[in-house]
């Protein structure tokens, strides 16, 4: 099937996964109004949202056979969008699976939890697939508004409310920067379409307006992906949010913001690379160094993982600065690896924390290796992968990012990446040492592991190990899906005088 947007019905086809998911979320919300508010009711809603995510994934598989005409349609139908869609849907499914036990334990009976989660995923999918500044802004807000509410979902807990307020104020603040940047690019390029903007913005004759616009956009995105020095909200929001939502924030939200970052900077402003690479270079460098140093002194496990997730944003920024095809491919590969390992780590933290999320200190993990050997072993696997030691997904992902940045000529960034990775071993291994070598102070007692949580953990650890051992097939897929992403118009054929009549 071919889509050229000549007919309005084409938009419906091009947005089929999003439409399916949004409809399901609306039905869920409606059903929740009449459903009984108890543990079995919320369980049914959780299963319904898993089904909805599966249906959207089926629609996404169908989308793989669809061709788009040209590369300037408002909705992109390319490999990049399909790959990231699968990533968001997978991350959302994992988050729903680890939420089962959490909602039961914390007494969350409001079905809006799952409806908002699905709305946020719709926003993410639109974000990664839109080629228009207006649509990018709208989907950003669709995603963010749902997540502001989710962060503050435990209304009885002052920490949750505080995290929501901080996240909301800084998120809205950064949206304004993003919007001003978009407005300036629109003024400079005369269009909101990223494909056309690439034609109208000429790298040789670029005005101050476009430069300031790019800087403002970089600031806005810096906030959204929590790059240093715009990261101050991240540890607070991650610590206070309900733990499944923390996993969602760290994995899916960050991935979606990065997807839009790439779509605007590498596709829309790809020819202006010389003008923005210095700025992103500094962001990447600071984002690798600062959080890895702060994480060394953290004693709260959720905060430690929050700083680790900021550091990972830095590694992903390196792939963005490289901006070549192997950079994009390694970026997608790393996103998949990072998603499974961070969701898995937060799933363990979620279960061990117990009622009201009491146990979050590192000292609570002392002796865990002997009292809960499975939990400790799996958490160690994810921590080793986050640290980037072989034979795990984190190692392969970092290796590919290093290679891409050297290929693009950013050897200094590659060196910083390697050195900061070495520094980060200290705090990841500190957790593992605490678990296996320190005597337990206050025994954790029995932890009820639900079946859905077990399933999510099995999936996460399998993918973490498999990506580490057999990385070639996923990397090939990632490479195929970014093929031609940077090529907006077939310039080569157009500019060749021999082929012109």
């Amino acid at each position: 099937m071919q889509i050229d947007f000549s007919n309005y019905l084409d938009y419906l086809w091009a947005l089929l996964p999003e439409t399916v998911l949004a409809t399901a979320a609306l039905i869920l919300l409606l059903y929740d109004g009449f459903a009984r508010k108890n543990a079995s009711g919320i369980r049914a809603l959780a299963w319904a949202s898993v089904v909805a995510i599966a249906l959207a994934a089926v629609a996404n598989v169908w989308l793989m056979g669809v061709q788009e005409v040209g590369r300037t349609g408002q909705i992109a139908i390319d490999g990049f969008r399909i790959f990231t869609n699968f990533l968001f849907l997978g991350a959302a499914a994992l988050v729903v699976l680890i939420s089962f036990d959490y909602t039961e334990r914390e007494g969350i009976t409001q079905g809006e939890f799952y409806a908002l989660l699905l709305f946020a995923v719709v926003g993410m999918m639109l974000l990664a697939g839109s080629r228009d500044l207006i649509l990018i802004f709208l989907s950003f807000e669709l995603m963010s508004l749902a997540v502001y509410v989710l962060v503050g979902f435990k209304r009885r807990d002052p920490r949750s409310a505080e995290a929501a307020l901080k996240y909301f104020l800084l998120g809205a603040f950064s949206s304004a920067f993003l919007l001003y940047g978009m407005a300036m690019l629109f003024a400079a390029g005369g269009t909101t379409n990223l494909g056309l903007m690439r034609e109208t913005l000429d790298a040789g004759a670029i005005g101050a307006l476009a430069l300031v616009g790019m800087a403002l956009l970089a600031i806005g995105f810096g906030f959204k992906v929590s790059a240093v020095p715009f990261h101050v909200w991240t540890p607070d929001a991650y610590e206070g949010a309900p733990t499944p939502i923390t996993a969602f924030l760290a994995a899916a939200i960050k991935a979606a913001a990065f997807a839009a970052f790439i779509r605007i900077f590498v596709v829309g402003l790809g020819d202006l690379h010389v003008h923005w690479e210095r700025l992103i270079w500094w962001l990447a460098m600071l984002t690798m160094i600062v959080p890895n140093l702060i994480a060394l002194v953290q004693n709260n496990i959720k905060r430690l993982l929050a700083y680790s997730s900021i550091a990972h944003a830095g590694y992903l920024l390196v792939a963005l600065v490289a901006a070549n095809e192997s950079g994009m491919a390694s970026f997608l590969f790393y996103l998949v690896a990072y998603t499974v390992m961070i969701v898995g780590a937060f799933a363990i933290v979620l279960m061990l924390a117990g009622q009201q999320d009491r146990r979050q200190g590192l000292s609570d993990y002392a002796g865990l290796g002997w009292s809960h050997p499975w939990a400790a072993a799996i958490l160690s696997l994810f921590l080793i992968s986050l640290a980037g030691l072989p034979p795990t997904a984190g190692f392969v992902g970092k290796f590919y990012i290093l290679r891409a940045s050297v290929e693009a000529g950013y050897v200094n960034l590659a060196v910083i990446l390697a050195v900061t990775t070495l520094i980060s071993y200290w705090y990841y291994l500190r957790v593992i040492v605490t678990m296996y070598m320190k005597p337990s102070i206050e025994p954790i007692g029995r932890v009820p592991w639900g079946n859905s949580l077990r399933a999510a953990l099995v999936v996460c650890s399998l993918i973490t190990v498999l990506l580490g051992i057999l990385p070639s097939w996923p990397l090939l897929k990632a490479r195929q899906s970014v093929e031609g992403l940077r090529r907006v118009v077939e310039r080569v054929e157009d500019s060749n005088p021999l082929t012109q009549p």
């Binding site: 500044l133 207006i134 802004f137 709208l138 807000e141 508004l145 502001y148 509410v149 503050g152 209304r155 002052p158 920490r159 409310a161 505080e162 995290a163 929501a164 307020l165 901080k166 909301f168 104020l169 809205a172 603040f173 949206s175 304004a176 919007l179 001003y180 978009m182 407005a183 300036m184 629109f186 003024a187 390029g189 005369g190 269009t191 909101t192 540890p235 607070d236 610590e239 206070g240 702060i294 953290q298 905060r303």
Partner: protein, 97 residues
């Protein structure tokens, strides 16, 4: 007229940024964010005469989003007021490193 409108929008935006950074009342900070959004709206309307009609379409969407954001933001501020009986962000210090 274009230059004057752009200058005004830049000044409004700067006032908004300064307000968010300097004031410590959550509601005032939120109002300053709305001011920033409206500064962008002014910018878009001003340039849309030269750059194309999409600017005015953009403004409609921005206003809609700002309304939705106000609903969510005020709800969050109310929920935190219930815990602290205050909207001063200096009081909210359960989460810190």
């Amino acid at each position: 007229m274009l230059i004057e409108s752009l200058l005004l929008s830049a000044i409004l935006f700067a006032v908004g940024v300064a307000g968010v950074l300097l004031r410590r009342n959550a509601i005032v900070m939120f109002m300053c964010i709305e001011l920033m959004l409206n500064a962008v709206n002014l910018f878009l309307v001003a340039v849309s005469r030269y750059a194309g009609i999409e600017g005015q379409v953009f403004v409609i969407f921005v206003m809609t989003v700002a309304a939705a954001e106000a609903a969510v933001g005020l709800a969050i501020i109310i929920s935190i007021f219930r815990h602290y009986e205050s909207v001063d962000v200096r009081n909210f210090r359960l989460l810190r490193w």
